[in-house]
Symmetry: C2
Subunit: 194 residues, 2 copies
């Protein structure tokens, strides 16, 4: 199997399409971020890479709080809009008709329509070049009641989206189940010892 190199491109699959929230000058603001991932479990930690010039970053620095809102198929247009526009120029909350609520941190705006919301406290802001890397501790996690099955979050009701950069930039839904995690790998263990 031959390989080609594409320089040092940031190409991975999947990438998320999260809506990152922060209060900027006491007003809720959101931006779309594909550059984010969980970092630790105890305490629960998440990272977000944000370009230094972004308006939302100003708000994170003001309050050292932010939110990560998981987007869904139903919110794809709004998610894309918050990636195109800046809260410094338009009222994204009004255009997207976001219902904003606040939790225990008071200054991390959360979007009611998003199926999952993480309320976070910024622990560190690292300069990694073109971007600031926000390392945040998750303080509270919210799930929409209509996305639960038997009290547990249900991905089939949440209907999250994936941000895909190649080929062309697009959003994709989740597809078929490939296998049970922490289970299907055991077939290789059996083959090895069998």
């Amino acid at each position: 199997m031959a390989k080609v190199t594409i320089d040092n491109k940031t190409l991975v699959y999947p990438m998320p399409a999260f809506l990152i929230g922060a209060n900027v000058d006491d007003k809720p603001n959101f931006m779309t971020a594909a550059w984010s991932g969980i970092a630790g479990g105890t305490p629960p930690v998440i990272t977000v890479g944000i370009r230094h010039t972004r308006y939302t970053l100003k708000g994170i620095k003001q309050n050292m709080t932010f939110s990560v809102n998981v987007s869904s198929v139903a919110l794809a247009k709004e998610t894309d809009y918050c990636g195109i526009e800046s809260g410094s120029k338009v009222d994204e909350v009004a255009v997207c008709k976001f219902k904003v609520f606040y939790g225990k941190l008071d200054t991390a705006p959360l979007i009611e329509q998003c199926p999952v919301n993480l309320e976070c406290k910024a622990l560190h802001i690292l300069d990694v070049g073109s971007h600031a890397l926000i390392v945040g501790q998750i303080e509270e996690t919210y799930v929409s009641e209509d996305c639960l099955t038997d009290g547990e979050p249900d991905v089939d009701k949440i209907k999250p989206i994936i941000y895909v950069t190649q080929p062309g930039r697009r959003y994709q839904a989740f597809g078929e189940v490939v296998g049970k995690a922490h289970t299907i790998g055991r077939e290789l263990t059996s083959a090895e010892t069998g």
Copy 2:
């Protein structure tokens, strides 16, 4: 829309299922990681959260290099296996029949069967509690030739997988295209000004 809180759980969608590679005592080793995300563009930066006790982390510290290998539907069993087993006890490369190659960094093992591979240099290792947060600079990105269309990486040929924790732990494929990014949001701009 009512919300419930599920404590401060690390629940986001999508999460990846990457195979993280490192040479441990000069031998290639791989572990599965769902806690990873891009962090910056110039230079290209990626983060990975790894439990302090993991064998692969020992190798990253030895060489300050590692790899991020994007998994696929065809490699779901192998990916799961490297999440269950540890290279300190079994020879994962032999069991999974991984063909390992090295690039410009010499000490970051890459898996030929994975459709996309990032060769990385560790810039920082942060202690974020239960996990070490590796901040790495991407030095080279490789794509399997048979996953290209007109010279560009093609997600429909790459067939990546998503790690889903709720409900139940499972791997899912990518699903239907929801819309064009940097495009569908413009409908809201038109509505606003129209």
